[in-house]
């Protein structure tokens, strides 16, 4: 049940002699060869982003070797970080992602607790339903959701379409089902004796959740938080549908619609923008790789 176990070292193998060890050595050499090959394939696009982001427009349009920077410059970075429009995209993305993480946690942690520990009528059906919801793709829901919010706007006069905060209503449909599901898994792996002891000591259900379950299931909580953040940060379809004015756009849509439009593609800036946009998830990944992978594997192995 423990999903973090995958990070432990694999079972240690005994050193054998003779032909098996020779086979192993060759297998190892081939493994390294192919791993290097696949790593090059995996890292080419991001590295090419870095290379292009360091080039001036003149160097990009000159027909030199595209894989090398002859005159590195930071002008693309300076220009983008000095542009209030780009900073606005970044701010919108950050606000949306942070709020969505908070909303997701507030909804999914209590729900997962109730579904994993406090059985009530229909709780099993609901747990399965949560999982099925996770499977419904965004591309099936964006048109009815768009129409729904348009109708709400007509009826109540509250205009939500083309406001960045409309995404706060919509993104939880992507994050909450999965986070609830993995939290159910983490909570279910906590021994029953622990919360029984707490209840006997007179703790209320809420206290059991905040004093026992949340601290014990903290790795799961971190994994779920990372998931919710990265999903909100990279979502592309919903902001594409719901927001159009440049001051309401989030980062991915902002880069695609404002930097690509026009006759001249400014590839240096596009790549810089994309690289900076990819930075937050990459930084989180670099520091919290184990939690990231735990969240990834928890979702599907329990499916």
């Amino acid at each position: 049940m423990s999903t973090l176990a995958i990070d432990k070292a694999g079972p240690s193998r005994q050193v054998k002699h003779g032909s098996i060890s020779r086979d192993r050595a060759w297998a190892l050499r081939w493994s390294y060869f192919f791993l290097i090959l696949f790593s090059i394939m995996a890292l080419t696009p991001p590295l090419y982003m870095v290379i292009t982001s360091l080039k001036s427009s003149a160097e990009i349009s000159a027909a030199t070797n595209p894989w090398w920077v002859f005159h590195p410059t930071l002008s693309n970075y300076k220009e983008l970080l000095g542009s209030s429009q780009y900073l606005r995209f970044f701010l919108n993305s950050a606000m949306v992602s942070v709020f969505v993480v908070v909303i997701t946690m507030l909804i999914s942690v209590p729900a997962a607790f109730a579904l994993s520990r406090m059985k009530f009528w229909g709780s099993a059906t609901l747990a399965t339903g949560v999982f099925l919801t996770y499977l419904i793709p965004d591309s099936l829901l964006f048109l009815p959701l768009f129409k729904m919010f348009a109708v709400i706007g007509d009826w109540t006069g509250i205009q939500l379409i083309n406001r960045w905060y409309v995404l706060l209503f919509i993104y939880p449909t992507l994050t909450v089902p999965f986070c609830t599901w993995i939290m159910i898994g983490y909570f279910a792996s906590i021994p029953k004796e622990l919360d029984e002891a707490a209840i006997i000591d007179g703790a209320s259900w809420l206290q059991t959740l905040t004093r026992i379950f949340i601290p014990v299931a903290l790795p799961g909580l971190i994994a779920a938080t990372i998931f919710a953040f990265t999903v909100s940060w990279s979502q592309f379809l919903y902001p594409m549908v719901f927001t159009t004015s440049t001051d309401q756009l989030v980062l991915p849509v902002g880069i695609v619609t404002t930097l690509i439009k026009g006759d001249v593609f400014n590839w240096g800036q596009i790549m810089t923008g994309a690289l900076l946009g990819a930075a937050p998830p990459l930084i989180i990944y670099a520091f919290l790789m184990d939690y990231y992978i735990a969240g990834l594997t928890a979702g599907a192995t329990k499916g």
Partner: protein
């Protein structure tokens, strides 16, 4: 796993003798608390997932201005259009090919990582998962630039070997290849991680027993690894089929469905019809064609979940 015993009524006591006084009220309070804790979740799923899903069924039966009921009119209209059949064909080609290669590559690379000494695996895994971590919209921009018609870095490299410029996104078949390539690049690391985790859970004794019985590496994979990983392969494939069928970002950014609608998927075409052309009902009808694959997945997963529920 969650204990999924459905209780016939709300106050069915699990341990009747545990508490003496106020048993009923206590249990009642517990289930009320539990219900209140799940209420936001129920509301969210009900209002923003289930209702829109049903609403799209309704939308699909309206005309463009959404004032008149046209029954199956939108579907009849779609069936007559060549573009629709192109989209169906391309969605199937795209999803099946991409998932196949993601599974295959993930499986193969997982073995390579697994072969490496345990203390070095982390580093390789870390590098190989990077495509999955970068937001797909951002990395697809890098691919768009790599595929650029006049400055393509791939074409520059190929020209060194005397291979002529490849119209990566200009020609229908090359464009199909390119969107699949990008999707495989983005998705394969996920399978790698899944299969690596699954490989580690196969007991080493099984391989030792197989080796003693004289099995070669192919037999070890076929008779030990694959049977042990059958479940995880099935589940990841199913998930990935759904996600790949529903893909939007990659095709939208790389080709916007072009050249001549040859790379449109259900999602990108529904977006084009529903949002860009303003015909929401027609777009909703197109996106409804993703339902069959979802239904199949749901049946399999429901079966699996009930099985697991019984095990717990």
């Amino acid at each position: 796993m969650v204990d999924v015993a459905v209780q016939p009524n709300r106050i069915a006591p699990a341990r009747p003798a545990a508490r003496k006084s106020g048993l009923k009220t206590a249990l009642k309070r517990k289930s009320t608390t539990a219900f209140l804790m799940t209420l936001p979740l129920i509301l969210l799923i009900g209002i923003l997932v289930v209702y829109p899903a049903l609403y799209s069924l309704h939308l699909a039966t309206l005309n463009k201005s959404m004032h008149k009921f046209v029954g199956f009119g939108n579907f009849i209209f779609l069936f007559k259009r060549d573009t629709f059949w192109l989209v169906v064909k391309q969605s199937c080609i795209f999803a099946l090919t991409a998932v196949f290669f993601k599974v295959l590559l993930g499986f193969i690379v997982a073995h390579f990582v697994h072969n490496v000494p345990a203390n070095k695996q982390r580093r390789w895994r870390g590098m190989l998962l990077v495509p999955w971590v970068i937001p797909p919209a951002m990395s697809t921009l890098a691919w768009l630039w790599l595929f650029d018609p006049s400055y393509s870095a791939f074409n520059y490299t190929l020209s060194l070997f005397g291979i002529g410029p490849v119209p990566w996104l200009g020609d229908a078949n090359w464009a199909r290849f390119s969107v699949i390539l990008v999707n495989v690049w983005y998705g394969a690391p996920f399978f790698l991680i899944m299969y690596l985790a699954a490989l580690k859970s196969v007991p080493e004794q099984l391989y030792e027993a197989a080796a003693i019985d004289g099995a070669n590496w192919w037999q070890r994979i076929w008779f030990v690894t694959l049977p042990m990983m059958r479940n995880i392969i099935a589940i990841t494939t199913l998930f990935s089929l759904i996600v790949t069928f529903a893909n939007f970002d990659i095709v939208r950014i790389l080709t916007s469905g072009g050249p001549l609608d040859h790379t449109h998927l259900f999602a990108t075409w529904a977006f084009k019809l529903g949002i860009e052309s303003g015909d929401i009902p027609l777009g909703a009808s197109v996106s409804l064609f993703m339902f069959p694959i979802l239904a199949i997945a749901a049946i399999f997963i429901l079966r699996d979940v009930t099985k697991r529920g019984n095990e717990a």
